[in-house]
């Protein structure tokens, strides 16, 4: 790999042992992915570590795997990069820490309670990461609250849906980054340039065209998530260009469409023609004439309906949990929920969980939506990814309803039955305890 003088100085130990170790590991990875050089980053988005003693009961269950990688650097007293152009930010973790003891939340309910030792490890991890220089949005949508990468910038991100939004909407560059080198990137501010950071890997290889009927029926967040799912499942890991999208596209639509990346696409890049920077037309997306013989897949409304069916695995219509907010809900989505649930009452046998980022949580408290949701019996919370909790311990008898393709595909193999539905059906499920799909009636 070609290294700059600054990168060589870090590698040679002139900027301390932490940067030397991190650069050595980055060079190893760069060689493995055949990178020719490093890029300077504008954002490293990773997760806070959980600092638990090794003899903590169920340590292996609650450690996702990255904290041991942090420990080497914590022992050295290392800080994240002091490059003022590079922000090191964090993804959500296991709970909203100030509500650890409150009941009715994903981390504390009648089927599960997060052990106190793990909670303490999370808090300790927060404190240590702050000392290292991380900022802690604890959000899977940092592009809506904390970090908004600009065209041409390079980012490394644990969060695939963020990476896809960066590439497809913001025009910056990111991979679905491996979660080992993220800590090394944070220490140095650089990372090997490879994958969808490179022009040649960003070009489309397959075209999707929406029917007018499909285009006119993208109403609910679930519809956009299902559209992303349909594209991801049919693209066979090829970068898609997508035609006939409704424009202007809402932030929520863009979030959920690109949110298909984590479960469904290995290269987090979609050319949303008319939205993606430098992809105003198909020709622009291809950087010239559209290659002869390229596959074009027509997407119809039935493709969307099929995704709704494929993401339902529950054997009965009973609903035990309704979860919305994967990726984290925007304020507009919270307002929709409040409007639909106002004056209704969540069933005593159902948990209704509304998951969002920190600014939106406080905005919803300021404007009253949080009170409406909680008065109805729901719970709104922030900083949390409920899928990182060990759902496998909650019981096979439970059914969970959601509007997240990502939620079902990533977390849906742990024993529970799942329903995928649009918001009105999810609200009805929360109120009645039964899931009835009416979206396509």
């Amino acid at each position: 790999m070609r290294l700059t003088d600054h990168e060589k100085a870090m590698l040679d130990g002139h900027e301390g042992e932490a940067k030397a170790l991190a650069m050595e590991r980055l060079v190893d990875f760069g060689q493995a992915v055949e990178a020719e050089e490093m890029v300077r980053l504008s954002n490293v988005h990773f997760g806070t570590c959980v600092l638990m003693p090794r003899d903590t009961p169920n340590y292996f269950k609650y450690e996702l795997g990255h904290s041991p990688l942090f420990e080497d650097f914590i022992a050295m007293g290392a800080k994240v990069t002091d490059d003022p152009s590079c922000i090191c930010s964090t993804d959500p973790l296991l709970l909203q820490i100030d509500k650890y003891d409150q009941e009715g939340y994903p981390w504390n309910h009648k089927y599960f309670k997060l052990p106190r030792a793990v909670y303490e490890g999370v808090v300790k991890g927060y404190d240590v990461c702050k000392e290292m220089g991380w900022i802690l949005p604890q959000s899977c949508t940092p592009h809506f609250n904390t970090v908004i990468p600009k065209t041409g910038e390079y980012v490394v991100s644990v969060e695939s849906s963020y990476a896809a939004y960066i590439n497809s909407v913001l025009g910056a560059r990111a991979n679905r980054e491996n979660t080992v080198t993220l800590i090394y990137a944070a220490i140095t501010g650089v990372h090997p340039k490879y994958g969808t950071m490179l022009d040649e890997n960003r070009r489309p290889k397959v075209i999707f065209r929406l029917s007018d009927e499909l285009k006119d029926n993208l109403i609910y967040s679930a519809d956009w998530a299902a559209l992303g799912a349909a594209i991801a499942m049919k693209s066979n890991d090829q970068v898609p260009a997508v035609l006939n999208l409704p424009i202007p596209m809402s932030n929520e639509g863009a979030k959920l469409l690109t949110g298909c990346a984590s479960p469904g696409m290995n290269d987090p890049m979609m050319h949303l023609i008319g939205v993606t920077p430098c992809s105003d037309s198909l020709e622009a997306a291809f950087g010239g004439a559209v290659p002869a013989g390229i596959e074009t897949i027509e997407l119809a409304l039935d493709d969307l309906k099929e995704v709704y069916q494929q993401l339902c695995s529950a054997k009965t219509d009973q609903v035990d949990m309704v979860h919305v907010g994967c990726p984290h809900l925007t304020y507009y989505e919270i307002r929709q929920i409040a409007e639909m649930i106002q004056g209704r009452k969540v069933n005593d046998n159902v948990y209704f969980w509304v998951q969002t980022d920190t600014p939106t949580y406080y905005m919803a408290h300021h404007h009253g939506e949080a009170e409406i949701i909680e008065k109805a019996g729901g719970k709104i919370y922030h900083s949390t990814c409920f899928g990182l909790l060990p759902l496998r311990d909650w019981g096979d008898h439970l059914n969970i309803a959601t509007n997240s393709f990502k939620g079902v595909k990533l977390f849906g193999g742990q024993g529970q039955g799942w329903f995928f539905g649009a918001l009105p059906d999810l609200i009805n499920a929360a109120v009645t305890g039964r899931f009835v799909s009416t979206r396509w009636d």
């Binding site: 190893d28 990875f29 060689q31 493995a32 992915v33 055949e34 169920n58 292996f60 269950k61 450690e63 996702l64 795997g65 990255h66 041991p68 990688l69 991100s157 644990v158 969060e159 695939s160 991979n175 679905r176 980054e177 491996n178 979660t179 080992v180 080198t181 490879y194 994958g195 890991d237 984590s262 479960p263 290995n266 695995s313 899928g387 990182l388 060990p390 759902l391 496998r392 079902v408 595909k409 990533l410 977390f411 849906g412 193999g413 742990q414 024993g415 799942w418």
Partner: protein
């Protein structure tokens, strides 16, 4: 007894390993919520390997799917909780799994001269020589019916 088959490919993470094959024709994720770090037993939505353990196996699959936490999940299961695989073989080892395999210090091999999903069966005995990243690697396959004899 049939001769062992030898496939030639490229090392994406270096090392030597020998073990029993576990083959998936579906993509796989090493994330802690799809193959729990405490068990090593696959639990993925609509996945044929669900219920099977990866512990000590050489796992053959097309490529990654799902969460980026597959890297740390692979590393942690091998180096910390002891329920990880001995090696991975893919049509294409995605960088998510390259990062995990390097940290786990297990070999990862792809770009083979024959399709590993077609050539290797679950239960076959597989030996991997992958001395250097980016350099040639070999996979020697002893079919299941001969595997016990080969090992004895």
């Amino acid at each position: 007894m049939a001769n062992p088959k030898v496939l030639k490919g490229v090392a994406r993470a270096k090392g030597r390993a020998a073990g029993e094959a576990l083959v998936s024709d579906q993509p796989l994720s090493w994330a802690p919520f799809t193959i729990p770090n405490e068990t090593g037993v696959v639990s993925i939505f609509n996945h044929k390997l669900t219920g099977q353990s990866v512990k000590g196996k050489i796992v053959i699959y097309p490529t990654v799917s799902g969460s980026t936490t597959g890297s740390i999940g692979l590393y942690f299961k091998v180096k910390q909780s002891g329920v990880g695989p001995k090696a991975i073989v893919c049509r294409r080892v995605h960088p998510i799994d390259i990062g995990g395999a390097i940290a786990a210090e297990i070999p990862a091999v792809d770009n083979l001269d024959h399709d590993p999903i077609a050539e290797i069966n679950t239960g076959d005995w597989v030996e991997i020589e992958a001395p250097e990243v980016g350099a040639p690697a070999t996979i020697t396959i002893t079919p299941r019916e001969n595997a016990g004899e080969e090992r004895s």
